[in-house]
């Protein structure tokens, strides 16, 4: 893609330049389309990750289990002390 513009240039050079421009523009359009597709995919993935409810459930389970353990440990020592 030559940037020089000789007035004495033939018509073919201009045609080639225009054709090259068209090709490049088409390629760029394709790339842009691909990139937009990737961006939308990324956004979808981000949304999915953010709105995953498994973390909250698992954290609740953890809390329940921890609390149950605490209660049991406290019970045991209390019983021991009583005996």
């Amino acid at each position: 893609m030559a940037e020089s513009e000789p007035q004495e240039g033939s018509y073919d050079d201009m045609v080639k330049m225009v054709e090259d421009l068209n090709r490049d523009l088409e390629k760029l359009l394709e790339e842009m389309e691909k990139l937009t597709v990737q961006a939308t995919w990324m956004a979808y993935d981000m949304v999915v990750i953010r709105t995953n409810p498994d973390l909250a459930n698992s954290m609740r389970r953890l809390e329940d289990a921890f609390l149950s353990c605490k209660e049991e440990m406290e019970k045991k020592w209390q019983e021991m002390l009583s005996e």
Partner: protein
């Protein structure tokens, strides 16, 4: 006139052609040229001016030629006919020429007209072309304007293209950045996913672990409850058992108290026995004192022995010192011997050199002898020659005497001859003198040869003697080396013996240490016995046994002391013997060293004698060389 008139008559109808007349003046010049070209005859020249003059001077020159022709009419009429014929022919020729000229002119005119027409056509065509070109130029100008407009439009388009390219490049860059960022985001997304997954897994693990912990805690609690219950039961059992054991032990205590009382009675009995044993112990102590005194005596003896050992060690050290000194002396002797051997080797080398020199001298003498022999031969040849010459001279003398006897008359001549003969006789006498001198020189040379031979024999004898001496010295050196080796071996043996002695001494010291240890052990045992006697009062049999043991130990110690004394005596004797042997060997070595030194001195003397001899020989050789040179010069 008449000539010209017919000319006029004939010419004017031809001049009627207007066209021709218009062109004639020009063509006349050309015709004249042509006629001049064609006409070669001088007559035509006359005709030419007439032809020339006719049209021009047709009207003017009428008067002058007419007058002349009137005069010549009578003479020229006859000639005029001939001339007329000639003129007619010439006229025909010229008419033909003119016709040709006309035709050519007409053709040329036609050609020119054609050319003119063509040129006009060409001009018209060119004008048309010019018009067309002008039109085309107008059109070209229009097209150029259009082209310029289009070029401007193209420039604008190119600028737009460049701008669009710039934008494309920027877009590419942005796309690349976007792709990079998208890849980064994808990596991060994947990492976040992995982290989420890990977190979920960890959380689930934690949950499971907590549940397990809870279950384990319950189990442990239950186990602990069971264990506590069991331990409570066990504690009750132990308490009961302890109570039972306490009652049992109280009963045992009562029994033990009864037993203790009984034992107290026994103890009192034992105390009485202890007192009796103490008395016995006192006796034993006295015995111990005696034993201690004996031990002291043995210790004193040991000290004496130690002193003796120390003395022996000192003697050993002295002997070692002496040995070292001897060794050093031996090393010095060896070094001296080595030096001597080196000197002897040097001397041997010098002898070899002298041998070489003598051999060279021999060769020189031989060469001199050969030269002298050659000289002798030469001189003998000369002598023979001289003898022959003398014989010849004698013959000549005889002949001359015969001639003198025969030539009595020629006295002057004979006297002269006699004088000559006397001169020759003088020469012969000189030659005889020379012969005698040569004979004397030959005798001298022979004597010198004899002397040289004698000297050579003496030198050879001396060389033989030197060789013998060298062999003897080499043998002696070898013997000395052998002696040195034997001495070294003896030294090594004595060193080994010394080592053995030291080993024995060490053994003795170890034995002494052992004895001391035994003594110390015995002292400790005695102490223990005393303590045991003082502490316990039970059985006197043990003390007696111990006394017997002590007595046996003391006896053993005495025996060991005696044995040690004997060993010490033996070793001291051995040491003395060894010292004596060492001393004898040292004396022998000293004698050997002295003998070696004496021999070395002898050899040095011999070497000095040999050197003197060599010097004398050198001087003799030099003298001989000088004599030889003198002889050669003679």
């Amino acid at each position: 006139m008449e000539k010209e008139k017919p000319f006029k008559l004939f010419v004017p109808p031809r001049l009627s052609g207007g066209q021709v007349s218009a062109v004639k003046p020009q063509t006349n010049t050309r015709a004249t040229g042509l006629c001049q070209g064609f006409n070669k005859c001088p007559d035509d020249d006359f005709n030419v001016p007439f032809v020339m003059s006719t049209p021009n001077h047709g009207e003017i020159t009428d008067s002058d030629p007419i007058s002349q022709q009137v005069k010549l009419c009578s003479e020229v009429d006859e000639e005029n006919i001939e001339k007329m014929n000639e003129l007619y022919s010439k006229l025909y020729k010229e008419a033909e020429k003119i016709k040709r000229w006309k035709l050519t002119v007409e053709s040329e005119l036609k050609q020119k007209e054609r050319k003119l027409q063509e040129n006009r056509k060409i001009i018209e065509a060119q004008r048309k072309a010019i018009q067309e070109l002008q039109a085309s130029t107008f059109e070209n100008e229009k097209l150029s304007l259009k082209l310029e407009d289009e070029i401007c439009e193209n420039k604008d388009l190119l600028k737009e293209n460049s701008a669009s390219r710039h934008l494309c490049n920027l877009l590419k860059e942005t796309c690349t950045h976007f792709t990079e960022k998208s890849t980064k985001y994808e990596h991060e997304r994947e990492e976040t996913r992995q982290l989420y997954v890990e977190l979920n897994n960890n959380v689930e693990r934690m949950i499971m672990a907590y549940e397990e912990l809870r279950v384990q805690a319950e189990n442990t609690r239950l186990e602990m409850c069971f264990k506590l219950k069991e331990e409570a039961e066990k504690v009750d059992k132990f308490e009961k058992e302890c109570k039972l054991e306490a009652s049992m032990k109280e009963q045992q205590i009562l029994v033990l108290t009864i037993q203790s009382n009984e034992k107290d009675d026994i103890i009192q009995d034992i105390k009485t026995q202890l007192q009796e044993s103490k008395n016995k112990i006192a006796d034993l102590v006295e015995a111990k004192r005696h034993g201690g005194e004996m031990l002291k005596e043995s210790q004193i003896n040991q000290k004496h022995l130690k002193a003796e050992l120390e003395e022996a060690k000192a003697s050993l050290q002295k002997t070692e010192v002496t040995q070292k000194s001897l060794e050093t002396e031996l090393q010095a002797a060896a070094k001296a011997l080595i030096q001597v051997t080196g000197e002897k080797e040097a001397q041997v080398e010098e002898c070899k050199r002298t041998k070489a020199l003598l051999a060279s001298l021999k060769e020189e003498f031989e060469t001199s002898i050969s030269s002298l022999k050659s000289l002798l031969q030469k001189e003998q040849n000369r002598l023979e020659k001289y003898e022959d010459e003398s014989k010849l001279l004698t013959l000549e003398l005889r002949n001359k005497s015969a001639e003198l006897e025969e030539m009595a008359k020629l006295k002057c001549d004979r006297e002269m001859q006699l004088e000559e003969l006397s001169e020759t006789l003088g020469k012969v006498e000189g030659l005889l003198v020379k012969k005698k001198d040569l004979e004397a020189t030959v005798e001298n040379l022979q004597e010198r040869e004899k002397e040289m031979k004698n000297v050579l024999q003496i030198n050879e004898k001396e060389i033989h003697d030197l060789k013998v001496e060298l062999t003897s010295t080499a043998e002696k050196e070898q013997n000395y080396l052998k002696q040195l080796m034997t001495l070294n071996t003896d030294l090594e043996r004595e060193a080994l013996k010394n080592e053995q002695l030291t080993v024995c001494i060490n053994k003795l010291s170890l034995e002494k240490e052992q004895i001391a240890q035994e003594k110390s052990g015995m002292a400790t045992e005695l102490k223990k016995l005393q303590e045991s006697h003082e502490a316990s009062c039970k059985l006197p049999t043990d003390s007696r046994k111990k006394e017997e043991n002590t007595k046996q130990i003391v006896e053993n110690l005495e025996e060991s002391n005696v044995q040690l004394r004997q060993v010490k005596k033996k070793k001291i004797n051995k040491m003395a013997k060894k010292g004596e042997e060492i001393k004898s060997k040292l004396d022998e070595r000293e004698e050997n060293a002295k003998s070696i030194e004496n021999e070395i001195s002898r050899k040095e003397k011999q070497l000095k004698i040999l050197e003197n001899k060599f010097n004398n020989l050198k001087k003799q050789v030099e003298n001989k060389t000088k004599c030889i040179e003198e002889l050669q010069q003679e």
